[in-house]
Each structure stands twice: as C-alpha cells, then as structure tokens.
Symmetry: C2
Subunit: 378 residues, 2 copies
Amino acid sequence: MKKYLLTPGPTELPARVLLAMAHPIIHHRAPEFLPVLEQAREGLKWLFKTKNEVLILASSGTGAMEGAVTNFLSKGDKVITVNAGKFGERWGQICKAYGVEADVINVEWGQSVDPEKIKEALQKNPDVKGVYFQATETSTGVVHPVKEIAKIVHDNSNAIVVVDGITGVGVFDLPMDEWGIDILLTGSQKALMLPPGLAFIGISDRAWKLNETSTLPRFYFNFSKELKNIVKNQTAYTPAISLIIGLGESLKMMKEEGLENVYKRHTLLAEATRKGVQAMGLKLYAPKSPSNSLTAAVAPEGLDSGKIISSLEKDFGIRIANGQDQAKGKIFRVAHMGYYDKSDILFMLASLEIVLNKLGYKVESGIGVGAAEKVFIA
Amino acid sequence: MKKYLLTPGPTELPARVLLAMAHPIIHHRAPEFLPVLEQAREGLKWLFKTKNEVLILASSGTGAMEGAVTNFLSKGDKVITVNAGKFGERWGQICKAYGVEADVINVEWGQSVDPEKIKEALQKNPDVKGVYFQATETSTGVVHPVKEIAKIVHDNSNAIVVVDGITGVGVFDLPMDEWGIDILLTGSQKALMLPPGLAFIGISDRAWKLNETSTLPRFYFNFSKELKNIVKNQTAYTPAISLIIGLGESLKMMKEEGLENVYKRHTLLAEATRKGVQAMGLKLYAPKSPSNSLTAAVAPEGLDSGKIISSLEKDFGIRIANGQDQAKGKIFRVAHMGYYDKSDILFMLASLEIVLNKLGYKVESGIGVGAAEKVFIA
C-alpha cells in the first residue's frame, strides 16, 4: 500500500531533499562545505526575516528550547511562560530544571492566549527577563497572536520575546526583526521538509545583550560560541552535515516557490482541511484560532479518535496523529505544513469520510471533499 | 576529480548507508519504526558488549560528553580528567561549565596517560566521583590503556570510569561490562560509517546508581528520561530518524563482517599506514601508543603539514586532517576507521609519496607503499 505521512512532524520529504542528502559526505572544514553552510545561513536569514545570524544546531527542537533558556537567563530569574498545551508546558519544565522561576499562564487546551493576560502578568512581575511561548501549540492546533504579544511585551517591559516557532516558521509569516521577536526557533522536520536532527535559532541584538549577563550553565548549546563560529561558516561542534546539505535543497525549493506563495499555500490547505472536516459535522479543537500548520479535529461523540487514526493507516496508508496527554483519544491531528499540496488534502478528506462511515459515524460521501474543493475553486 | 575522505570524522559513507537513509521518512511513533529502533538497540548492545541499554541521542558526540557529566555529578563534585589533547581538554571545560572540580592529569601531546598517574590522583583525591578520559585522543592519534585504567580506578576507588570512545568504538574492542567501563560513548560519524548527528552512550548499573543522586541541571540530555523511553522503543524527544535508519544498515554491515574481523581490519590498516609513513622517514606523533583509528604523522622538518594536506587534496582529491591547536602545521592525520580497506591505504600512501617529493622532501617512489604491502602480505 502507498504510505502517506500527514503527521505534525516528521512531515513528508521531497525526493529532491532525499537525493541531496544521499550526496557523498563532505568534511565540515572542507572548502566544498563553505558554500553549503553559507547558503544555509543566507536562506535561514531570509526565512526568519532577520539581519542577524540564525544558529544551526545538531539536535531536535527541544535542544534549541533549552538553549533559549540557558543562554539568556540566570538562576533565580523570573520569566513568563504560556502553557496552552504539551509544548507550552515544556517551557515551564525547562525553566524548572535550571532554577528559573516561571510565572505560568495556563490556557485551556484548544484556546490561544489572550495578550491581555500577558500584560497583566508583566504588570504583576515587572522584572521578568523573558516571555516564552509558542507560535503554534502543536498539541492543540492553536496559533497564538505572536505579533500582538511581542508588542505588548515591548510596550510594558524590558523582557525578551521568545517564540517556539517549531511548527510556525515556514508556515506563516514570523518576521523576527519587524515584529520584535527576540528569539525565534524551529526544527528541521516540519515546514522545512527535512528529517529531524537539526534545530535553528535566530537571536536579536536585545537577546544577545542579555546573553552577556546570563550565568546558567551550558556547554553543547552555547550560543555565543556558535555565533563566533557561524560567521566563519563553521559550527562549534561537528554539524549534522547531511541534513545541512538537505537544508540547502529545501530552502532552494522554498525560494523557487516564493515565501509569500508558501504562506498562501499553507493558508489554502489549512482552510480546505478545516472546511472539509467541519462539513462532515466534526468540530475543530481550536475553533477560534486554528493554526495553518495542522488541523486538530474532535472525534465524534463516543468514537475514540485512535480508531479513526488506525483505520486511516490500515485502509489507506495515511498516518495522522492522535491527541497527546489529556486530548488523547479525543482528537486527531492532520498536518499540512511542508511538502503538501491540494491533492494531499483531497484524498485525506475522502479517505476520512470512508473511515468515519465504516466506524459508524454517518457522513454523506463527498461532503467534506466537496467543501474543500470549493475553497480551492474560490 | 574523484574525492576521498580520510579524515578522523566524518568518514566515508558506504552507498548502502546513503541509500538506506534515502528511504521515505517514517514517523517515530509508527509501528514501522519500532523494529528499526529495536534492531538499533540490539546492535548497539552487541557493539558495546553490554547487557544495558545504549541511549541514542540526536546530537554530536560532544552532547553525549556533556550528558556524561551532567547526569552523574553534582555541583562541587570532584573528578579526575585526562588531558592528552584537544578532546581530553574538553572534559575539563565541560566540568568547569557545570561547577564540577576536575583534577586534570596533563599528558604531553602524543603520549598516552600512565595508569600510575591515575592511581596517584585517586590516592590524593579518594572522594572523586568519576575518572573521565578518551579511548583514543583524536587530536594526537594516541590510544589510552582503557582496560588498565578501568581496573586501577575500580581497585582504588568508587569512582565511575567514563570513556569517550568517539574514535574508539567499532575500531577496537571496548567490552563495557567485562572491563568495568561505566560510561562509554561514541558518535555516528566515525567507525559507525554514518553522517554526524547521532551520539550513543552506554551506562552501567554503577553509573545509574550515581545518576540517582546527581543534581546538576539537564533537560535535553536527560538520560533517565531517555532510558524510560528506549525500553519502549521510543526516545524522549524526536529522534534523528533518517540517521537511525542508516544506523540499522551500518550495524548490519558490521555484523556481516563480524566484529572480530572489523577489529582485525582496523589493526591491519593502521599497521600498514604506520609502516608506510615510517618507511618514508616520517615520525609518528604518537609512536609509543598509536591508535588504530587514525595515524598522526609528523611533517618533515621545515615543511608545513598544511602544504602536504592541500597538495593531497588538490592533486589527488584526498582529504586528510591537519593537527589542531599546538600541533597545527606540524602533523597530519589520516583516518582508517570505518568504511576503509586496503586499497584506501595503498593509494593514499602512494599519493603521499608523490606529494612529498613534489614539496621537496625526497622519498624513494614506492618505499612507503611497499612497506604497507608487506603488512598485507604477512
């Protein structure tokens, strides 16, 4: 059976990227690697919309999240974190591990954070060093109002704005410099159409200033050391060479398509997916602020979402994701970030209709796909 | 021009590994990934010769080194580290970054550590928690007496024996359980014939015991969390999936060859390389304890080793490595760990003879290759 991966990371890899990575290995200090790293640096600056360097780490996104705490804070520092799901919770866990005091804004799963809550928290704690949140909370499919939050933070404090853009960067616009995002990070296995194993982190001048006084311990994720190296087209430690070669190809594909077109495509696919599942009578898990990265849909009353997921896998070779923690069994999550196009959404929705009917939830055949078609026609 | 990589990491990739990694991406929670991770686990236990789990990290080897400090020690703990080169120095730097007091045994570059020095250091500091050293110090091409050191440590203390086997594992025997190595770590881009981006770390029961009382901060490199996951064929954070698929193939290749044959091949290639460069009148940088992983040779008096390296690259497409730090310009390093065989050594030595002659250091044509041939004939 043909296999399709529509999970919110890892995502499908273009054959062009797979082939690029199958290139014989190059030494990371060899002259042939210099243009590879230089192009990657330029491409990442273009993608992050920043004049500053974007560091390239050999780790998953969580490593970059840890570094976003340890390179800018000191023991006993206060920060604000937004916990609207499993990944927002992680900010608090990292802070705890390093003795940073996090004032956690808890948000109901499926909701986005109200920027006013951040304003209140800033007024309560005027000495916070940073505000840590997600662009998209991958566990719930919600998008947070990054631009508004950044403005509120800068209008009301000296704190840095730290955005986990793991499922945001490359899906929708997150112009670092223009919006005043001080730290923006992402991983390779989402919109960047690569296997997992690389993380990227952009850092503003304001954040670099904070780095100078930060005393938390760090070694592998030492950003000032990485900066000193990356300007010379090097990395502090051996880089994940084959993945960086793949990165060159995926950035090239994004440039060929054009960044605005990449964002438009993601908007269109997300809108079609949402309209499609809603036409089947399913509710969105994040109805007010759904992300264009993935769609989280609530399973019909009395039907375990795990059954929908395993039937899609078994009958159609389509892998989507279950909910995590408290949402497990209640929702399913379909990704449309990265190497996806209209056809993926159409066959996924049609397959979903068949599976739902088979599982006893009656759906008029074609109703979801039809709704998606209308989005594409418009 | 055909290109050849004979650097001490990254090393050449077999086409089988490149092809394996070009497999369409699999989700790390998908049933198809379970046997991949399970085989990798089994293969790593086989390679490390341990009954315990070997953790798989998405990072370069340095990440595993950091974790080997942060997961077992607490602030103010004392350890002994062996600094016989750039990588030995790194143990001290990591300890310093985390407030661990390192009694550093400084060894002249090119020399291996005298186990008696470790005994003395243990007697001076009976409360040390660990002894940290390299199996092979990659910057000098020296091999340390791992078995003897492990015995001395266990006979004289309760400290754990921590071995950076980044350029040792898969080159020569380092049977963890038999020798009492408590922590053994390596990276993917050496004898394991993979691109950089994965690190592996085996941990003894004694070390796990120490982990229970360790209080240094950690998050991404959290080994107890990784252990809880790996026994369920999972990883704490998104694994570097494509590299792990490649790992399956490289372990398969090592099993097909047989571990003892792998070690024999490395011994033979190393011996031929040493005899070859010595026949050209060059001195080994680590003459008393040369590693079978790489050969470091001293450039002829008055000839910058960088010139030899750049000529080999320019005229023959062969990339070898310069010395690092104090050895830069003085030595060159040729690797023979991983996917190498007799032919690689023969053409490298012949090319080296041509290059040396061209640079004004007169070598009888064929004298080095001839010496290597004799090793292979024997």
